[in-house]
Symmetry: C2
Subunit: 121 residues, 2 copies
DNA sequence: GTCGTTTACTAGCATTTTGCAAGTGGTGGC
DNA sequence: GCCACCACTTGCAAAATGCTAGTAAACGAC
């Protein structure tokens, strides 16, 4: 992940696609978003149990990053972490279309290489 | 990038979003696709000159991977590499929507953090 | 209240991937 | 043939990742 010193992100260019990828261009950030889209709210341990098995340090650092970036937030802004789940902000919810298109693409184009891939709900 | 021994990709789960990210969940693969969407065809050196400055070894490995996966191909299938550009296959072209949605999202949601970001054409 | 369990992390370290710089080898133009 | 150039490859330092283990705080049971 590209990090700068002032911004949490080091922007590689002014292209919107490249900039989106500077933030979300890794597997884990978008899988966190996916979990929150599917389940609405999700705690730290629930996310860590999803089938892709993200390791705890990566989960912590990614949650911190996407929260800083305003993609998700705590359900109870002022409560302590325990059982205080995460949910998407308005910005995060707008990623649904991106993930839907990606899921659709994968389902139609990866079936041959990955026969057990499931469809989009 | 997750690699297996039989498939060029190690699938983390059967989720289509996760599987898409197993292939394209890094900055560089999708930036290559972006270049090919914008310009149609593009040679190795042209891609390496794009503003995000991908390094040559990563470019070579990513081109190999996405070509193996059938996302892009050589313009002249049987000719030698020199001046033989890459272009997207049907599968690759179908990624346009994914990138468009990502670009749209970035433009509306990252403007504050990244003021010089440009809009989608 | 205190004891044990659970949750949400952090820390340490081996492995993998990245990024940079420099090198190589085939090609096409002259 | 010679030379510039394009498409890579190689080597190595630095960063990110993936395990595994550890810890602190909070909740529940009693």
């Amino acid at each position: 992940m590209a990090q700068g010193k002032n911004s949490p992100v080091g922007w590689r260019s002014e292209c919107p696609i490249s900039s989106g990828l500077d933030i979300l261009g890794d597997i884990w950030s978008l899988l966190i978003v996916r979990d929150l889209i599917v389940y609405g709210t999700r705690t730290y341990s629930e996310i860590s149990q999803s089938p892709e098995k993200i390791s705890t340090n990566i989960l912590a650092s990614r949650l911190k990053l996407v929260t800083t970036l305003g993609v998700n937030e705590r359900v109870d802004a002022d409560r302590v972490a325990r059982n205080n789940a995460f949910r998407l902000t308005k910005s995060g919810k707008e990623l649904r279309k991106v993930l839907e298109e990606l899921g659709r693409w994968s389902h139609t184009n990866l079936k041959e290489m990955h026969p057990t891939i499931v469809g989009m709900e």
